[in-house]
Symmetry: C2
């Protein structure tokens, strides 16, 4: 499993760099709200594709946490006086498109999608939360912890497959490389404010850290990044 | 929306009749555990098929509650010293088959499936819980309340469709009739103990009540049962 230290480290670096790029709370929460919908659907698809009762049961619990995380984001938006649906709507087309491009063709690909995209986007979102008002930032950290509850079971199910089939391992390694590209793109889009993207010199160090963290996740699966 | 009174009433009658048929806790919880997996997957499918952010968001929250309900059943099994997976496994083939037969061909059919099957099987399960040890019975009632959290949004989304299209209404009415047959069958299977089914004279009054409650759910959708 991914050692907890790796996440913390990447998040620390990313937080410093990203804190100055944090958008307004309604923008941050609106995007996170729709993102948790997409990540929930991916986990739902993983539950359906899983052939064992044990795997289904563990992923259902993880999906339950994701549903709770979504509800918590909706409640934060309401508490700030925003209509949650109106706040999420602007990110719908972009994130639906991300989901379509990354959904995976079979059970193992779906699991890889869940693990790598929720991991990368949680690291990114944790960093980007750095400039939120303090109280909200603390609650967002709790929400993001729920988003990744399924990591352990995803790694366990994937390792079982990867260890017994080198052919599957090589196919999933390719899938992981494809996913990181699409995931970086959708993270970059979140940095654009009023149609303006911050300079590359500000973005690059952040993504270097996030990709290092992605590589550790690939390692945890026994795959070459 | 289905008035709360209707459920309570059906459950009261069903509880009296079913209390004597309550199986061992491990059997009751094992079946309920796998059932919540199936109902979770159905809600997950509903989230995916829903075209609006608002509908997706509300159904995701309902699915989150279903995931939590599943987790609570798993925890009850563990607290009783049982392996949750081994306890759920005996009901897998039967409930997977039920799911396949009832999954629905499009968005509206999926919503009808969620609403009618979770409603019927929650009424049934509440009745069948009547003979469980008191403390467990109280906690099971809390779990079952979470299973049906999505009712209001399912009814709302379905009514919007039914009210604007008589053709859709007549197709969904047919679908509802087909569903109640499959749902009754899967409930009946839960009454079989060691391969022996209780006499029809004991089962019939229960199902008369449960079907009356089903009819009220069809009414709530504006459909003819």
């Amino acid at each position: 499993m991914l050692p907890l230290g790796s996440r913390t480290e990447a998040v620390q670096v990313a937080r410093v760099e990203l804190a100055a790029l944090t958008p307004e709370p309604v923008v941050y929460l609106g995007r996170l709200g729709y993102l948790t919908l997409v990540l929930f659907e991916n986990l739902g698809r993983a539950v359906m594709a899983t052939p064992t009762t044990e795997g289904k049961s563990e992923l259902t619990r993880a999906a339950g946490e994701m549903g709770d995380a979504h509800e918590a984001v909706v409640n934060e938006l309401r508490a700030l006086g925003h209509d949650p649906v109106a706040a999420m709507e602007p990110y719908r087309l972009e994130l639906d498109d991300f989901q379509r491009r990354t959904q995976g063709a079979d059970w193992h690909e779906i699991l890889v999608t869940c693990y790598l995209t929720q991991g990368f986007l949680t690291d990114f979102s944790a960093g980007l939360a750095g400039g939120l008002p303090r109280d909200l930032r603390v609650r967002v950290a709790e929400i993001l912890a729920r988003v990744t509850v399924g990591e352990a079971v995803l790694v366990e199910l994937l390792r079982a497959g990867v260890e017994t089939s080198p052919r599957l391992a090589s196919r999933l390694a390719m899938w992981g490389r494809r996913l990181v590209g699409d995931t970086m793109l959708v993270a970059r889009e979140a940095l654009e404010i009023d149609g303006v993207m911050p300079g590359e010199e500000r973005i690059e160090p952040v993504f270097t850290e996030l990709v290092a963290s992605h590589t550790r996740r690939m390692d945890a699966l026994g795959l070459t990044a």
